[in-house]
Structures are given as structure tokens and as C-alpha cells.
């Protein structure tokens, strides 16, 4: 058992920390050894990556709070511009340092300002003797900000000349970050996915107070048996476990089975979980609807999921426009004459067959077509005469806003706009009926 050990921190804190971060002991001890003692300078920047919910954020947060290391925690998605991000870091610094005086609004537009203000903030906090950790969650967003942000954060220690370490958390590998002009290489660290055993251990940890740990762990075992194939997201699994636990307990509550009667319980819950996989997990029906359904004991069949409502009612000409667009997108131009003209000449069959594409047009995806072609096909597929009124043209635009068509190339409207049909064959079949 790799007990966490570090001379700088009290053993009780470490023990508590260990209980909080199951299955991540090795990563934590690695981090601890990089961090060193409080006053020691650490590595300037650390890059941690791993899949969704492999515990990056959680581990960092628990580590820093339990050991009471000075830190700033920022989510880069939330602070979407560099200004917001920098200001947020400064605000957090200020507010944690001085809770007595009102924090004055900081204005920080550039990194230069940031470095200056950062030095001030650190000085006012008298933190020179401790390492300050700046954790940037979802660091992949940094790539979309100004080009100097990411390199500057990587060597913030050097720029500010203060004891600071920047920790970047991301779901993608470092290679995708590296700017082409080069930068300081951070220390990279990988958080591997939790294995099924890990998941079992972590999920079983929080059992409800009314039931024993063994009972809950048996339930988690069944749950993982169903869901592990499709979902390894810890958060999602925990959510699903909480949603379906009431159903699992039902026989026990009714007195039909006791807590040890695993087989009976399994028979009861398994089909239910499978149904949950098809509905709640895909968000076809919402969790609250699912709970209500469970509560009322109704069949999930009565509640139609989101995908059941695929039918879209369209005006008469919109339907024809969409069909025409579909034909224009998936038929090659040279077949138009054959399909849509009443008196097309005889087709030389041999010639045509030879050229026939091996791959289906549906596999190639929609091709763009000009407006003229769309209208020409429309006129030929609608039985009666269609006047080219403003209403027809406006319908094309509205189909674009409804995302049933999409405009290709944002060039001049006068220059013959080109469109693509974005709906599937099934959809067209449904409206053509």
C-alpha cells in the first residue's frame, strides 16, 4: 500500500487526503513530490491530462484544500476572454488575502499589467515563503485566446520572479497545445482512466445511510455490468446509480426479498436498467420524468422520447423546395435532364452504365447546388404552375434558418448563392408522404 508520505505535511492530513482520493494515490504522491515543501520552488508549470472524469479537477482541488496550500482555481471556459481570466485570478488572489477591505475592481487588459498586479497582490499577501498554485481547468480554451497567453502562463514563475506554479488541466494531449514558435515545456502528467474495479470502489464508497455498504456495492456491481460497456463517466454513473436505486430497493421495502437475495434483486432491476440505458442515459427522457415514472410505476413506453418527435410540419411549397433541394444535392447534374424533362432523348444506356458510380451518392454526402437548379427542379416536380413570388424565395431563406438547408460560401447574394441540403433520406421520405 503506497501510503502517502511527505516530511513537510502532517501525517493526519495525508491520511485524510488519501481517504478522499481513492485510486489516485500514485498520482497524488507524484504531485506531492514535485511540489516539495511549502517554501520550496516547484516546477514552473505542470500539465495534467486524462479523459473526462478521470479525477483531474477533483484531485487537484482536494489536494490543495486539504493541505491548505495557497491556490487560485479558474475554469477557462467560464472566463472566456483573456481579460476576464486574468482579472479573475487577481480577484481571487485579493479576496483570499484580505477579507476586511472591499476588493476594488481590477482592470487588467494585458499580460504586462497582470505581471505587475500579480506581484503587488503576492506582496500584499506576504506569500513569498510559500508556493502559490494557479490551476487552469479546461486549459484547451487558452489556445483560442491571444497567442501570448499560453507561453506566458507556462513561464510565469520566471516572468514574475515569484514562487508560483501553474497547473494546466486538460482532456487533450500536450502535443496539441504546443505553439509552433516553441515555448517552455511543462512537466506533463497522465491521469489514466478508472478501471472497472476502481469505479466499483469509488461508487460503493458513498452508500446511503439506510442500507448497508455490501448491499449498495452489490447494486453498483449490477449497474456497472449494464452500463460499463457504454459509459465510463464517473459522474454520469453516479447519477444513474442514484436515479435507479429506489427501484432496486423496492422488493426489500415491500418485504418480498431481503438484502441478501441478490438473484431476486438482480431479476428485478436488470430490465429496468436496460431501459434506462436507452432512455435516460441518452437524455431521451429527462431524469425527473424517469423518477416520476418510477414513482408511479408506469411503463416507460408511454413516455415518448425526444427522437420520437421527428415529424416536422411544413407548408406545401416548403416541402417541395426541400425535396427539390434533396434531389439537387444527391443527384448528379447530368441526370437532371433525364429525370426532370418530359421529352428527353434516348439515353445511350451502355455509355451511361459504364460511367455509373460505384459508390452510392448517399455515402458521399450532399453536394452544393446553385439556386437556379433548385428552382428548375421545383418547377418540374410541382404539378401546377408555381409563380416565383416573394413567398417562395423567403421560404428558401427560412429553410436555411431552420437548418434544413445550409448556404455554402458566404459570397454575394447576387452572385448566385449555393445551397446544400442537410436533411436525411428518412426525413425526406417522411415529408414526401
Amino acid at each position: 500500500m503506497p501510503n502517502l508520505e511527505h516530511p513537510a505535511y502532517p501525517a493526519a492530513d495525508l491520511l485524510h487526503l488519501e481517504s478522499l482520493v481513492p485510486c489516485r494515490e500514485s498520482q497524488v504522491s507524484m504531485l506531492l513530490s514535485i511540489f516539495g515543501e511549502r517554501q520550496q520552488f516547484s516546477f514552473p508549470s505542470i500539465f495534467i491530462y486524462g479523459h473526462t472524469s478521470s479525477g483531474k479537477t477533483y484531485v487537484m482541488q482536494t489536494l490543495l484544500t486539504t493541505l491548505q496550500l495557497p491556490h487560485v482555481f479558474v475554469n477557462c471556459v467560464e472566463y472566456f476572454t483573456s481579460r476576464l481570466l486574468l482579472e479573475e485570478i487577481l480577484i481571487q488572489l485579493q479576496s483570499s488575502s484580505s477579507d476586511t477591505e472591499q476588493t476594488c475592481p481590477v482592470h487588467c487588459d494585458t499580460l504586462n499589467d497582470f505581471v505587475r498586479l500579480f506581484k503587488q497582490a503576492v506582496a500584499s499577501r506576504e506569500l513569498q515563503d510559500q508556493t502559490l498554485y494557479i490551476v487552469l481547468d479546461r486549459a484547451e480554451q487558452l489556445r483560442e485566446m491571444e497567442a501570448n497567453i499560453l507561453p506566458a502562463f507556462l513561464r510565469l514563475q520566471e516572468l514574475t520572479d515569484r514562487n508560483v506554479t501553474v497547473v494546466l488541466l486538460s482532456e487533450i494531449v500536450w502535443e496539441l497545445f504546443r505553439p509552433n514558435v516553441g515555448c517552455f515545456e511543462p512537466f506533463t502528467m497522465y491521469f489514466p482512466d478508472y478501471s472497472i474495479g476502481h469505479l466499483q470502489k469509488i461508487l460503493s464508497q458513498n452508500h446511503p445511510p439506510e442500507y448497508s455498504a455490501d448491499f449498495y456495492s452489490a447494486y453498483i456491481n449490477i449497474l456497472l455490468g449494464v452500463f460499463y460497456m457504454v459509459c465510463r463517466d464517473l459522474k454520469e454513473l453516479r447519477h444513474l446509480a442514484a436515479l435507479n436505486f429506489a427501484k432496486y430497493c423496492e422488493p426489500v421495502v415491500r418485504g418480498e426479498a431481503n438484502e441478501r437475495d441478490t438473484r431476486k434483486l438482480w431479476k428485478n432491476i436488470e430490465p429496468h436498467l436496460k431501459k434506462a440505458m436507452q432512455t435516460v442515459y441518452l437524455r431521451e427522457i429527462s431524469s425527473s420524468q424517469w423518477e416520476r415514472l418510477q414513482h408511479d410505476g408506469g411503463e416507460p413506453g408511454q413516455l415518448k422520447g425526444l427522437s420520437a418527435h421527428t415529424h416536422v410540419e411544413l407548408p406545401y411549397y416548403s416541402k417541395f423546395l426541400l425535396i427539390a433541394a434533396y434531389l439537387a444535392s444527391y443527384n448528379p447534374v447530368r441526370t437532371d435532364k433525364r429525370f426532370f424533362l418530359k421529352h428527353h432523348g434516348k439515353i445511350r444506356k451502355t455509355n451511361f452504365m459504364k460511367k455509373h458510380e460505384k459508390t452510392s451518392n448517399h455515402l458521399l454526402g450532399p453536394k452544393p447546388f446553385p439556386l437556379d437548379r433548385l428552382l428548375a427542379i421545383l418547377y418540374s416536380i410541382v404539378d401546377n404552375r408555381v409563380a416565383p413570388t416573394a413567398n417562395i424565395f423567403s421560404q428558401i431563406t427560412s429553410l436555411v434558418t431552420l437548418q434544413l438547408l445550409s448556404m455554402v460560401g458566404q459570397n454575394d447574394q447576387l452572385d448566385g448563392p449555393r445551397y446544400k441540403c442537410t436533411v436525411s433520406l428518412d426525413f425526406i421520405r417522411a415529408i414526401a408522404r
Binding site: 471556459v77 472566456f80 476576464l84 437524455r283 429527462s286 427560412s398
Partner: protein
């Protein structure tokens, strides 16, 4: 147009001015003032009626939504300590609101929704549109702006500090929104509960913040994703509720959001009434009633319905079209002053001027009426105004009675036809209404076949139909129906007697009827022929004779009451029939108009010199017209030099031939300049564009004409 976003409609011009506009065309002997006032009052009546209807239609949906919203966060607030709540991931409650394909109509629903929410659930509502939110930054700005302003609206007393907040440049981030929310809720807690109007929303500690995405389809994926991710992190501090306005199908949520994001939401689906049902209700309540004196003619109604069904599915546009009909009718028809409630008719008829009386005499329907009178009365009608007025009043009253009867009998006929297989006269009452308005419905083939089908109905259907008819007629305001109701009731009792008398024989008969009822139209004719044969040979059963009697009676009712409005005298006063004008206004064809203008400038300019017949090109026409006509004769690529040559030939044709001869090969600079200008104008209009294939050519962008 279809879901085009029209700029907000112009404010109605001030009343005096419009009245003046009505008058400016003709002198005041035609009661323009009164007509205008009538028009306005009628429209306000209709408007309030439609608003009422729409409110009722949306009520169910809004109630469900309010329920959902008030439920969404209370659960968490009540039992935060329970195990399941601690373990469950806290999702953002989301309502997916499927509103049908016409986006412009959604505005009204959203307005109603936010009003209802404001009164019942929460004062904090933000409405976001895709066009305002190209990036997450704009979205946050817009959101915060709306939320903080709404605070000003509700608590107008605390204006000062709110203004202060907005004056400072707020950092548009979630954290400042949260601190705002905290301060606001704290403030409301400390307030005395009796202070404000929406005390009901204060019953909770923290009312939810509702964010409405009006047009989900148009938002970019990234913005939505980011916003959802951010707000899901703060859901505990800021109780957000999202509402997605969806025009197509809820599948769009899965198309726009990846699973990692959609798993942060707790989505419930709400569906509004389909717009076709909405239209049916509107037609039922607005047109098929005798409450409003103004009526739509068959063709006009057809135009409006066609625009709805073929182009836009917009109920708002339908109502706008209806409004246009009203305005146009009162504007163009001087006699529309008589298109008012029956109580006012008498007064208005007797105050008619001589000119107006002449107008009445000129009405085609009135002339037809006069011709059918005896000669003494004819003279009286044509010479004495007072006699004419008396007669007019009587005729108008007749017309009113006709309407009342018409609607009731139409409904009865609809009850009959809508139960027939294949609906020969249409499933909806509006189709039947159109058919009856346009011509004598009993002369049509569809009517014939539906009567034949009705003669084959089985007894239970027939009885329920009769009962429905009795109910309709009883509830109608017409006075003439006492006898009809009696007659129908008599039929019903006869059916009952029949049942009691011959129960055992009936079995075989009704089974035979069942068999006949299931046959489709093709087999129908055959069975009918057989029936005819058998009718000759076999004596009809009692039930069959009774059934024939019933159908014949209904037929007689139809012939009596469902006379098309065109046959009624003075129908011009209350019926608006100018379908072509309406079509021109509502279903404009810009391409055609442009072609007419360029091809035949006389049409719009009304200049006699421009009048030309045949295909010739007049040199007096504007340059652009000449250039346009010349370009119609060309193929896809047009040689500019040839075009210029042709142009100068046309232009020079009128000038002296000797001047022409002097500089035949050299085109005049002025003409050259005129040509260039005309060509660039054509380019601006989108008829041609420069071609890359040949430098001295331009490409045509339109087809036809050559």
C-alpha cells in the same frame, strides 16, 4: 412571407390623418369619416377577439410550462440533505418548446409566456435571440443586461443603485451575475411582503432565473455548449432554467449538443398546438359567426388559406391578411358604411346621401333584384330615395338573417359530411365553407356523391348526427329553426320507434348496412347501381325510407339556406371579394413586377409616349428598358460591343438620319456613357454579371425570353 423576419409593423397612422386619406380620394358625400370609424371599431373588436382566442389556445401549454418551472428547483431546495439529492448530478432544468415551423408567430407565444412567468413564477427572465449572440461574450452581455434591467422594471423604487450598477462597466461573467442574484434575493427577502404586486413570486426564497432561447436552431453549437457548461457549474448558486424555442423537431437538441453537454440538462418536452388547428379555431371563431358584420368572399378566403397552407403556416399573417381585407373593403367600397351591426343599420340607411343611393342602384346585385320586381316598384326603387332606403333596410335585415341561418346549416352539413368516408366535401369546415361560398353547393358533383354516401349511413351514425344537428340548431340565434328542430326530433323519435318495433329484423338489415359502409368509392357506384335495381324490385324497409326522408330533408335545408352569398342582394356591402388585389398585396412576385417595369414601362410610368404595342423597342423608353429588351434577345453570354451597337441603333433611330450617317462607325460619347450606366444598373438589379470566360462579355443570370 414564410417565416421571414419582417420589421415591426408600422404604427397605425393617427386617426385624423387616415380619415383624411380615406376622404382625399372622393368627396365627403360617401361618408368617409363614418366608414373610417366603423372600420376602426370593427378591427379593434376583431383584434381583441383574436387575442382572446390565442390566449385560450395557449393556456394549456403555458400552464404546463409554469408547472414545470415552479417544480424544477423547488425539489432541490426542499430536500438538500437527502442522500439521492446529494448523489445525483444537478442538471439544469430545461424545457424544449416545440412551436411549429413559423418563427415569426413564436414572438406572441413568448410574450405571453414571459408575462405569465412574471406574474406567477419569477421576475427574472431573459429572452435571447440567435442574431444577438454570435459569441458567448455577446450572449453573456445580453443576458446580464436583460436580467439587471428587469430588476429595474420590477423594483422601480430601487432605481438608483441599479442605475449605478449599469453605469459601472460590469464584468460580464457568471460570478458577477451570481453576486447580483444574491444581492437581489437578499433584498427581496428583507422587504415587506405586501409591498409589491407580484408577491406570489416571492413565496420562494429564490425564484429561478429563466433564460429563453427563442430560436434554438440558429444558435451556433459552440455558444450553446459553452453557456450550458458554464451555467451547470454554478447551478447551485444560480437556479437557472432554460427554455429552448424549437421550430423543427426536438431532435435538433441532440444534433446541436454532444452527449457530454446534453447530459448536463434535464430536458422536458412541451408541444404547442399545431398551427393548422390554430387556424381552424380562428376561422371558426372569426368567420363562421354572425357577430361581425364584415364577411370574406369565397375567393378571398381561398387566397388567404392558400397563402397559409402553401407558404407560411403563419396564423399572424392570416390575421394580418384579414385586417388588410377589412381596410381595403372600407376604403374602396363607399357603401361599406352600411357594414355595421344591425342596430345601427336603420339610422345609417336613413342618413344616406343621394350619391350613396345612386351607388346602391349601381350595385350589380341590386340591379338584378330590381329587374325581378314589377314595373311600378321598379320605378319607385329607381326614382324615390326614401323608398329605396326602406327597401335597403329590409334587404340588409334579410342578409343578416341569411348569415345566421347560413352558419347553423353549414355546421349541420359539416357534421354530416365529416362522418362520410373519404370526405368528398372536405374534412375541415373551412373547405365546406369555401365550397358553399363559391357556387351552389348542391350543383357540385362532390355534394351529389356525399348525399349518396349519406343515404348509406348506418343507423347509429345517423342518429348521432341528427342529435348533433339538433344541438347546433338549438344553440343558434336564428328564429326560423323551431320547425326544423321539431322535424329533426320527430325523425329521432321515429328511429326510436323503429328500433322498438322491429328489433329482430333490424339485425339483418344493419349488418347489410355495415357491409355497405365499408366499401370504398369505387365499389360504391356498383352497389348503388345494384341498389337501384333492387329498389325497383324490392320494397324498401321502413328504416330505408326513413333514411331517405332524412337525407332529403337535409338536402332541402341546404338548398334553402346555403345559397352562395353572390346570389344575395346587396352582398357587395358586407362581402369583400377583390381577390386579385389581395393577392397582389400579399403574394407579391418581385421578378414579374421587375420584368413588367422594364419590358413595359408604360405600365408604371403612365406616359402616353411610352405606350407601344407589339415587340418593338421604343427609343423614348428609359435607357435601362432598351438595354433590358435587347439583352432578352441574347444567349447566356452577351458581347458588350454588339450590345452597344444595338443600343446606339435604337437610340439614334429617332434622330435625323443624316447625322447618323456622318459618324456611323463612331459611337457618340454620350450614348456610350448612357449605355454603360444602363448596363451597370442591370448588373445592380442582378440580371447580368461580369464573366470570367470572356473579358468583353457579360453573363446573363436569368433565363427565358430568348
Amino acid at each position: 412571407g414564410c417565416f421571414v423576419f419582417k420589421p415591426s409593423t408600422k404604427k397605425r397612422r393617427s386617426s385624423e390623418k387616415t380619415a383624411h386619406d380615406f376622404r382625399s380620394r372622393s368627396d365627403d358625400s360617401e361618408d368617409t369619416e363614418l366608414r373610417f370609424v366603423t372600420c376602426q371599431s370593427l378591427w379593434t373588436q376583431i383584434k381583441s377577439e383574436t387575442e382572446q382566442i390565442q390566449e385560450d389556445l395557449n393556456k394549456q401549454l403555458l400552464d404546463n410550462l409554469v408547472n414545470f418551472l415552479s417544480r424544477s428547483h423547488s425539489e432541490f431546495q426542499e430536500k438538500t440533505t437527502e442522500w439521492t439529492c446529494r448523489m445525483k448530478f444537478r442538471e439544469i432544468p430545461t424545457a424544449a418548446l416545440v412551436l411549429g415551423v413559423n418563427v415569426t408567430d413564436h414572438d406572441l407565444t413568448f410574450r405571453g409566456l414571459s408575462d405569465v412567468l412574471q406574474d406567477n413564477v419569477t421576475p427574472y427572465i431573459a429572452l435571447l435571440e440567435a442574431k444577438d449572440c454570435p459569441g458567448i461574450k455577446n450572449l453573456m452581455q445580453k443576458l446580464m443586461g436583460q436580467l439587471m434591467n428587469c430588476d429595474v422594471d420590477v423594483d422601480s423604487l430601487e432605481d438608483e443603485d441599479c442605475v449605478q450598477v449599469s453605469q459601472n462597466r460590469i464584468r460580464c461573467s457568471m460570478s458577477s451575475l451570481i453576486s447580483w442574484y444574491e444581492s437581489v434575493t437578499k433584498k427581496t427577502d428583507s422587504e415587506t411582503p405586501s409591498k409589491k404586486r407580484n408577491s406570489s413570486s416571492r413565496q420562494w426564497q429564490s425564484p429561478p432565473v429563466v433564460v429563453i432561447f427563442k430560436d434554438m436552431e440558429s444558435f451556433t453549437t459552440k455558444v450553446l455548449q459553452d453557456f450550458i457548461v458554464i451555467s451547470s457549474q454554478h447551478i447551485c448558486e444560480l437556479p437557472l432554467v432554460l427554455i429552448f424555442g424549437i421550430a423543427t423537431s426536438p431532435m435538433i437538441i441532440h444534433r446541436l449538443l454532444p452527449h457530454s453537454v446534453s447530459s448536463l440538462l434535464c430536458i422536458e418536452l412541451f408541444q404547442s398546438l399545431s398551427c393548422k388547428e390554430h387556424l381552424s379555431t380562428i376561422i371558426d371563431k372569426l368567420l363562421l359567426t354572425s357577430r361581425f358584420p364584415f364577411k370574406l368572399g369565397g375567393k378571398v378566403l381561398q387566397v388567404l388559406i392558400n397563402i397559409f397552407l402553401y407558404h407560411d403556416f403563419s396564423v399572424q399573417n392570416f390575421i394580418k391578411g384579414f385586417q388588410l381585407c377589412i381596410v381595403e373593403h372600407f376604403y374602396s367600397q363607399p357603401l361599406s358604411v352600411l357594414c355595421c351591426q344591425l342596430v345601427d343599420v336603420k339610422k345609417r340607411v336613413y342618413s344616406l346621401s343621394h350619391d350613396q343611393c345612386e351607388n346602391i342602384r349601381r350595385l350589380p346585385s341590386f340591379r338584378r333584384y330590381v329587374e325581378n320586381q314589377e314595373s311600378g316598384k321598379q320605378i319607385a326603387l329607381l326614382t324615390y330615395d326614401s323608398f329605396l332606403k326602406e327597401e335597403t333596410e329590409k334587404l340588409l335585415e334579410d342578409l343578416h338573417v341569411y348569415h345566421e341561418n347560413y352558419v347553423s346549416i353549414l355546421r349541420c352539413l359539416h357534421v354530416l359530411t365529416s362522418s362520410l368516408p373519404k370526405y368528398p366535401l372536405g374534412k375541415q369546415i373551412r373547405e365546406l365553407h369555401c365550397a358553399c361560398l363559391e357556387n351552389r353547393v348542391w350543383e357540385t358533383e362532390e355534394y351529389e356523391s356525399s348525399l349518396q354516401l349519406a343515404r348509406m349511413l348506418n343507423k347509429t351514425d345517423l342518429v348521432t348526427m341528427l342529435q348533433q344537428c339538433v344541438e347546433i340548431l338549438m344553440s343558434s340565434s336564428g328564429k326560423e329553426f323551431d320547425k326544423t328542430v321539431e322535424k329533426l326530433k320527430e325523425f329521432l323519435t321515429q328511429f326510436q320507434n323503429l328500433e322498438e318495433a322491429s328489433q329482430e329484423r333490424d339485425v339483418s338489415v344493419s349488418s347489410q348496412k355495415e357491409l355497405q359502409k365499408k366499401t370504398d368509392l369505387y365499389h360504391l357506384q356498383k352497389t348503388l347501381l345494384e341498389l337501384k335495381e333492387s329498389r325497383r324490385s324490392k320494397k324498401l324497409t321502413k328504416f330505408e325510407t326513413l333514411r331517405f326522408e332524412v337525407v332529403d330533408y337535409i338536402d332541402s335545408l341546404v338548398r334553402k339556406y346555403l345559397v352562395p352569398a353572390d346570389d344575395r342582394t346587396l352582398h357587395e356591402i358586407v362581402y369583400f371579394n377583390a381577390a386579385t388585389i389581395l393577392r397582389g398585396h400579399l403574394n407579391a412576385a418581385p421578378r414579374t413586377a421587375l420584368h413588367t417595369a422594364l419590358n413595359n414601362p408604360h405600365w408604371y410610368l403612365k406616359n402616353q409616349a411610352l405606350k407601344c404595342d407589339g415587340g418593338g423597342i421604343s427609343n423614348k423608353a428609359p435607357d435601362i428598358c432598351i438595354v433590358y429588351k435587347l439583352h432578352l434577345e441574347c444567349g447566356r453570354l452577351i458581347n458588350l460591343v454588339d450590345w452597344l451597337e444595338a443600343f446606339s441603333t435604337v437610340v439614334m433611330a429617332a434622330e435625323e438620319p443624316n447625322a447618323d450617317a456622318a459618324s456611323s462607325d463612331q459611337v457618340d460619347d454620350i450614348i456610350h456613357a448612357r449605355f454603360i450606366r444602363a448596363v451597370s444598373e442591370l448588373e445592380l438589379l442582378g440580371f447580368i454579371k461580369p464573366s470570367k470566360q470572356k473579358t468583353d462579355h457579360v453573363a446573363r443570370l436569368t433565363w427565358g425570353g430568348c
